[in-house]
């Protein structure tokens, strides 16, 4: 075929970016739900939900873009992962639905308010756990034959994926608590300062277990990381450095730094994961190139994206700007 340049790499970059955007953006608002049951009081819960209410909707659109973008650029990923994770995907969607309507209903309910509190917390927890389990399932790999998934319905659910599921729950909670440090003040902020180190330690424990465990799950990862010193060792080092920055920033009671450093922690961990698996996108059998859609389709969509995405970014920024300002009060 006449392909002037390799679109697969470009699309890997775009999809990687969309997924990272989703994880970071929906991460901090899922985090609010996870922290919900532990919040100091009802007034704090009002503020917590308020702090993410204006952005929640747009954040979730990145998930839809991730889904359809993968279908467009790497259809094999879509058609193997979704069947393999069938039950988990259902749980995630159910969680997102409950959580979504809880946003809508909670402030309007009085006698039934506690129900929506639970819907928000439960939905966020389930969605976050399911997403973390997906990460673990991805590391484990998928049993395929001739381009289709042939494993069982619960192959994805192992001690390892439960570990990664809980890890992401803790990670999102960390994003959530550092977000609160940035966006709130007073009692709630102090509470967030207090729980952040605890959450960070939980994340680091999971991080450690997963790092030790992963090479046993996957021989390829073992070779990649332990055949001599390579540049990718920089990634975990940077991730650990971010963790250190979070600790220090919390101690100094800085406001913006903990959140920024947490995003860094996520970013380097994510890159480390991708580096372990590269170029496999449906491990253990298929690479990015095996999974890619037709060149014409990738090109057709890319041309549109180059034109439309900047416009999208512009008006999203505009609407954020209109609603700028600090989150203070709660609802009555």
């Amino acid at each position: 075929m006449d392909q002037p340049f390799d679109l697969v790499i470009i699309w890997a970059g775009i999809i990687g970016f969309a997924v990272m955007m989703y994880v970071l953006m929906d991460g901090f608002d899922l985090g609010q739900g996870i922290l919900y049951p532990f919040a100091p009081d009802d007034h704090s819960r009002d503020i917590m939900m308020n702090s993410v209410a204006p952005v929640w909707d747009g954040n979730e659109t990145w998930l839809v873009l991730g889904g359809t973008g993968i279908l467009a650029a790497f259809p094999l990923v879509y058609s193997v992962l979704l069947p393999a994770l069938y039950i988990g995907v259902f749980l995630m969607l159910a969680g997102l639905i409950f959580r979504g309507v809880a946003f809508e209903f909670r402030f309007k309910a009085n006698t039934t308010k506690y129900l929506w509190d639970w819907a928000f917390a439960g939905g966020s927890f389930v969605a976050a756990f399911a997403q973390g389990a997906v990460v673990g399932a991805y590391v484990q790999g998928f049993e395929t034959n001739n381009l289709v998934y042939v494993g069982g319905p619960l192959d994805w659910l192992t001690p390892f994926t439960i570990m990664t599921g809980l890890g992401l729950v803790a990670g999102y909670a960390l994003l959530g608590s550092t977000w609160l440090i940035m966006k709130t003040e007073g009692e709630l902020q102090q509470w967030a300062y207090k729980i952040t180190p605890i959450l960070l330690i939980m994340v680091l424990v999971v991080f450690g277990v997963v790092s030790i465990y992963t090479p046993f799950v996957d021989q390829g990862v073992l070779n990649r990381w332990f055949n001599g010193v390579s540049i990718i060792w920089l990634l975990p080092v940077l991730a650990l450095y971010c963790a250190f920055l979070i600790f220090r920033a919390v101690k100094k009671q800085q406001e913006g730094m903990p959140f920024v450093a947490t995003m860094g922690l996520f970013l380097f961990t994510y890159l480390g994961l991708l580096a372990s698996k590269w170029p496999y996108i449906v491990p253990p059998d298929y690479t990015l190139w095996d999974a890619a859609s037709a060149y014409e389709s990738q090109l057709f969509l890319l041309l549109g994206f180059l034109f439309v995405i900047p416009i999208v970014m512009a008006y999203i920024a505009w609407s954020y700007w209109i609603f700028r300002g600090k989150v203070k009060g709660g609802y009555h």
């Binding site: 209410a53 839809v64 467009a72 259809p75 979504g100 505009w318 209109i322």
Partner: protein, 471 residues
């Protein structure tokens, strides 16, 4: 039909039921929001142009209704975009070269547009100049149409594939133009667009009629009722004509679907138009036929003696479930006819503004609020069940598109799960919508106690009414 042999867990049947259930659930909301978004934009434009405060009172109220319905549309839509992969992965993989880009374009051109301007529409009235607020309303309306454009193009390709070729089981796009603007697309887009406007018009008419019967906010609701009656008068007959063209086009591309619509078994000339029948697929004939001679041929071929293909042209297992298609079509057309009559009655009662007092008419309009939703679902059932047993017409069967690893137990698990989740969400949503309607224009325009900062900037929270009637 494969529905026989009933009770063992067939993942195919369960997946079809699940898909039908979630897509129908989803479809209820967009068909209303598409029409309502344009109505709100029109109200905002009138308000800006005339300065008459009544327009803004109306707009503030209908934005609240819009917020609730839109929120439900978003959550149910997210489910849809994963359905293709979970239950129809072979189909998704085979057609990804077309569906992937089309659905992605929908996200970046429509969903982000709606999400971006929705906040300004719902909460920005006091934060931006009135003209900018109007602009946001228009952008949301445009977004809903762009969304309908892409998704209906994708759906139409399943009925009338064009511009694509199959190689080793994978679809490749030869001509994006032909594939996107495939032969049934323009009819489906028009028919669905008009259906959306009719839906909004009938809901606005029904709700305004109800308020007028109770003498609430008479001046404003009079305006809304008058507007929607003009809309109905104009669009209901147009829909009949567009529907006819749609059907004639379908005859060309999907003759078996039309044969099922007509309950027509033997190929022949001068066929009747059946008003009533019980089609029986086992026996390959109809029971209790009542029809008008030759009218069927006239409508379909525009010739009294035109030849129309019958279902027996293909083997019984290649025929769609006739009775469903047959009756769903009659429900749609029956309601369409009723809509035309209501439009004409409105025109007739317009002299001396009698439509504002005529209680049977107002009461009828109140009932008719539900009609467009039923007609739309019936229409989709005609379209989609009439495609059976094909997933892509004459190219891929339902069974070929199914996820290979899917077991009956998994499908049953998710199907019951969705039914359970949607039942809860739907009842809460309806409950809430009802309290918004009870609150009416008065509550929507009441002084707001909450300050802007404290108000949740979320669709449904834009509504002021209380969910459970508490303080």
């Amino acid at each position: 039909m494969t529905f026989g042999g009933a009770m063992e867990l067939d993942p195919l049947i369960l997946s079809r039921i699940q898909f039908a259930f979630v897509v129908c659930f989803h479809a209820i909301f967009p068909v209303f929001t598409i029409g309502l978004a344009s109505f709100i934009a029109a109200l905002e434009a009138l308000s800006l142009k005339t300065g008459n405060p009544l327009w803004q009172r109306l707009s503030k109220f209908w934005i609240q209704v819009f917020a609730v319905v839109f929120g439900m549309g978003v959550v149910s839509g997210i489910v849809m975009s994963f359905q293709f992969g979970t239950n129809w992965s072979n189909f998704a993989y085979a057609t990804a070269n077309f569906f992937g880009p089309i659905l992605s374009y929908e996200v970046v051109t429509a969903f982000f547009l709606e999400a971006g301007f929705l906040g300004v529409l719902l909460f920005g009235r006091d934060k931006v100049p009135q003209g900018v607020h109007l602009f946001a309303a228009i952008m949301v309306a445009v977004g809903t149409f762009i969304s309908a454009f892409w998704i209906l193009s994708a759906n139409s390709l399943l009925h009338t594939p064009d511009g694509i070729t199959v190689e080793n089981g994978l679809y490749y796009v030869d001509s994006w133009r032909d594939a996107i603007f495939n032969p049934s697309f323009k009819f489906r887009f028009l028919h669905m667009g008009i259906a959306a406007f009719l839906t909004a018009a009938f809901v606005v008419a029904g709700v305004s009629a109800w308020y007028l019967m109770n003498k609430r906010e008479v001046e404003a609701n009079k305006k809304a009722l008058s507007m929607s009656l003009w809309m109905i008068l104009l669009l209901a007959p147009t829909q009949v004509v567009v529907g006819d063209f749609h059907g004639v086009n379908t005859l060309k591309h999907q003759p078996m679907k039309v044969a099922a619509i007509e309950g027509h078994w033997e190929t022949g000339t001068g066929i009747p138009l059946l008003l009533f029948a019980i089609p029986d697929k086992e026996a390959q004939e109809n029971h209790f036929e009542i029809g008008i001679p030759k009218l069927g041929s006239l409508i379909l071929t525009h010739d009294w003696e035109g030849e129309v293909k019958g279902l027996k042209e293909v083997a019984p297992e290649d025929q769609p479930p006739v009775i469903i298609v047959f009756w769903a079509f009659r429900v749609m057309v029956g309601l369409g006819t009723l809509m035309v009559l209501f439009g004409l009655a409105g025109l007739f009662l317009r002299r001396k503004q009698r439509y504002l007092e005529c209680r049977p008419f107002l009461n009828g309009l109140r009932m008719m609020s539900f009609a467009p939703f039923i007609a739309v679902l019936a229409g989709w059932i005609v379209t989609e069940v009439g495609r059976a047993p094909w997933l892509i017409y004459e190219q891929m069967r339902h069974a070929e598109g199914l996820t290979p690893s899917l077991t009956g137990g998994m499908a049953l698990f998710s199907l019951t799960g969705y039914i359970f989740v949607y039942a809860m969400i739907f009842s809460a949503g309806v409950f809430y919508l009802m309290s918004v309607l009870r609150g009416g224009l008065e509550t929507a325009n009441a002084e707001q106690i909450d300050s802007d900062v404290e108000k949740a900037q979320r669709p449904i929270s834009a509504a002021n009414a209380n969910l459970d009637g508490g303080l």
